[in-house]
């Protein structure tokens, strides 16, 4: 992923998922937001940005539009993303929540063929404290440093960042990959990026019940990650509920373990991989300080 601050960024869609405060914050952070695409509103100004009908218009008017932030209505995410891909945009962060999963399946098939990186849906985006902000992460909890955070949550990520900041541990990159069962970029992709990133000395992984991306990440850490990692998994006392059941509910059919998707299964995977696991957010800095050399 290209995260250099000099590339241009586009917003697709004006909706509840992105507010004036978010846009102002990104601008204040130096993100080169160049335009908003909102069909039918061409010629207007929104959040002090010019509005266009089509992504194509934006890429002909501005050079190096490399990233789009998608915040259209969830039913229109697939169309917006396909439009961005057709205009040769190769990085997208989908902020919208509630995208129908079969739309994402179609998008992934297209993205794989064209080598497009998708973060989200239901993602709070990426922040490089002090340098760059793509998305809705609140900067106030962050401070520049060398701890990378990759998380499926949004508000819990801010909690974790705040605990690190309070303990004097700044952050290199924080990314919210989104909590949907059917998600674009994975823990593994981001572990790889953070492992290669020179500014990152240690990694915090924040997971939650549902799916098995944490388990895959635990195995990957044991096999391929040299930097120290601390994991924090929520939901260990949550009884199985529909919010958890929303994912991997075919476990009984497809031949998966009965505890598929539970925090317990994820915790066991990290223990087996020898990854230290924090019991609560405030314990993360403690564990990090023990393993950062």
């Amino acid at each position: 992923m290209n995260l250099t601050p000099d590339s241009n960024v586009l917003i697709q869609g004006l909706s509840e998922f992105i507010s004036a405060t978010h846009v102002a914050q990104m601008k204040g952070y130096g993100t080169n937001l160049v335009a908003v695409v909102h069909p039918g509103w061409v010629g207007q100004q929104m959040y002090d940005l010019p509005v266009f009908d089509l992504v194509e218009e934006v890429v002909t008017k501005f050079d190096r539009v490399e990233t789009t932030l998608i915040s259209v209505h969830p039913d229109q995410v697939l169309d917006a993303a396909l439009e961005a891909i057709a205009a040769n945009i190769r990085q997208m962060i989908i902020i919208s929540a509630g995208v129908p999963p079969l739309d994402m399946v179609r998008l992934f098939r297209e993205a794989e063929n064209r080598e497009v990186l998708i973060v989200g849906p239901n993602s709070s985006g990426i922040i490089i404290p002090g340098k760059m902000l793509l998305g809705t992460q609140p900067q106030e909890f962050y401070t520049p440093g060398n701890v990378g955070i990759v998380s499926r949550s949004s508000t819990l990520t801010y909690e974790v960042a705040w605990e690190l900041t309070k303990a004097g541990l700044g952050q290199s990159i924080s990314v919210g990959i989104g909590s949907d069962a059917v998600a674009g970029s994975s823990f593994i992709q981001w572990l790889q990026i953070l492992d290669e990133d020179e500014g990152t000395a240690a990694i915090v992984l924040v997971g939650q019940p549902g799916g098995e991306s944490e388990e895959a990440a635990a195995q990957y850490i044991a096999e391929a990650i040299d930097k120290p990692v601390v994991a924090y998994i929520t939901g260990k006392y949550a009884s199985a509920s529909k919010s958890v059941d929303g994912m991997g509910n075919f476990s009984t059919i497809v031949g998966r373990a009965a505890n598929f998707g539970t925090a317990q299964r994820k915790l066991a995977a990290f223990h087996a991989a020898g990854v230290p696991v924090a019991e609560r957010p405030s314990q993360i800095p403690e564990l990090l300080k023990k393993i950062i050399h």
Partner: protein, 402 residues
């Protein structure tokens, strides 16, 4: 949302999956105008599929028997659910039965075709007998034929199974399903196949873009809503754990983290509500403040609820209205306790712990600090661990009598 059997079979019929001749029965007397021939099977239309052993399925030979049986079935709750409709269906003798399904595998992010050489009774030990094909790229009928081949089918049977699976796949995509299964698919010696039963689950997020499904969903939701106004949280992103401490959070991860902390600090969590989104299926879309007010009300009406912990991080919509919502709640509690209701003296008013992290909450916090609430009815705490410790401590104090 799961379809009822008769709704599912209408869909199967429309897309060309063979189903038995059947008729929807809204009232026992409908059986006098039956267009299918006896013997017939009467089936109670409820959401649970395991209805046979509890009287949800009856075979009848005559109209008189059928009406009597139907009267019975309309008054017989199946696992607590009373049917509004029965299905009258021709009886069928199958020689062999198979299992077929199309599901979205959330780990692979791809649809998966599944097939078994016997009906699926969801017995763990028989899982290995299931064949599957991952639909990696754009669907093409060969995926369905490959499933038939993997199941060990040959020749015309492989082709007719492949044909059914293809139709199931199209239904799956067209209607935005989580899964569709035929269980069992009967096979006759003549080679004829017949979908005897199955399940169809519609993805909640896509309900509103299919008008006919949205109609169905709203009917179901309206019925639930009328039955349990105000105290229901069935439509919420929630957890119900029976303890003394309620949690109102914003975001799943943050809510779960708070819940875990409560247990780690020795408390017992009760109902926990995520105020982040109103769900797609909620027929009464709500603003954040409405959810906050209703959430407080729901938690207060729970038995044994002693403390409510509000934990919001970063920002929430309508941030300026939070203090009023909370002040209103405290005010309501005080006026109720002044009334001195005697009938409910064994229940209690929950105390409130409010933890708001982030500069956007500063004004709200200042306002909340000015609210006078005796008996520790309202406490503001900044640090999460401290807020949880305080919550657990208050849950152990004598209750505030109504």
């Amino acid at each position: 949302m799961d379809l009822l059997e008769y709704q599912m079979k209408e869909w199967f019929h429309q897309i060309g999956i063979p189903v038995l001749p059947s008729q929807r029965i809204d009232h026992p007397t409908d059986l006098k105008q039956l267009k299918i021939s006896y013997p017939i099977v009467l089936k109670s239309q409820v959401s649970r599929t395991d209805r046979e052993k509890v009287g949800g399925v009856k075979i009848v030979e005559t109209t008189i028997d059928a009406i009597a049986a139907a009267q019975n079935m309309f008054n017989l709750p199946i696992w607590g659910e009373l049917p509004e409709v029965l299905l009258a269906e021709s009886k069928y003798n199958s020689q062999a039965e198979l299992y077929l399904a199309v599901v979205l595998d959330t780990a692979l992010c791809r649809p998966v075709l599944l097939g078994g050489k016997e009906p699926n009774n969801y017995d763990d030990s028989k899982r290995e007998n299931m064949s599957y094909v991952v639909v990696e790229k754009e669907f093409s009928p060969f995926y369905a034929r490959r499933l038939g081949w993997k199941m060990g089918l040959k020749g015309t049977l492989m082709q007719s199974i492949g044909d059914i699976v293809e139709k199931m796949y199209h239904l799956f995509i067209q209607k935005d399903l989580d899964f569709v299964e035929i269980n069992p698919l009967a096979i006759h010696n003549s080679g004829q196949v017949m979908a005897l039963n199955g399940r169809v689950r519609i993805n909640e997020r896509a309900i509103n873009r299919h008008p006919e499904i949205a109609n169905l969903a709203h009917k179901v939701a309206n019925r639930d809503y009328k039955n349990q106004i105000n105290t229901t949280f069935d439509n919420w992103d929630s957890l119900d754990m029976l303890g003394k401490i309620g949690i109102l959070g914003y975001g799943t991860g943050s809510l779960l983290a708070t819940l875990d902390l409560i247990v780690d600090f020795g408390g017992t969590p009760g109902v926990c509500l995520n105020l982040r989104h109103s769900l797609a299926t909620d027929i009464h879309p709500s603003s954040f403040c409405e959810r906050l007010e209703r959430g407080l009300h729901i938690l207060t009406t729970q038995k044994n609820m002693q403390v409510i912990l509000i934990n919001f991080v970063g920002s929430v919509p309508q941030i300026g209205q939070i203090p009023e919502a909370i002040a209103k709640f405290i005010q309501f509690q005080r006026s109720e306790s002044n009334k001195g209701s005697k009938t409910k003296h064994d229940t209690c008013f929950p105390r409130l712990i409010v933890r708001l992290l982030g500069a956007e909450f500063n004004i709200a916090k200042k306002y909340l600090a000015t609210i006078k609430a005796p008996n520790e009815a309202l406490t503001l705490v900044d640090d999460l661990d401290e807020a949880v410790a305080e919550t657990v401590r208050l849950a152990k104090l004598p209750i505030l009598k109504k």
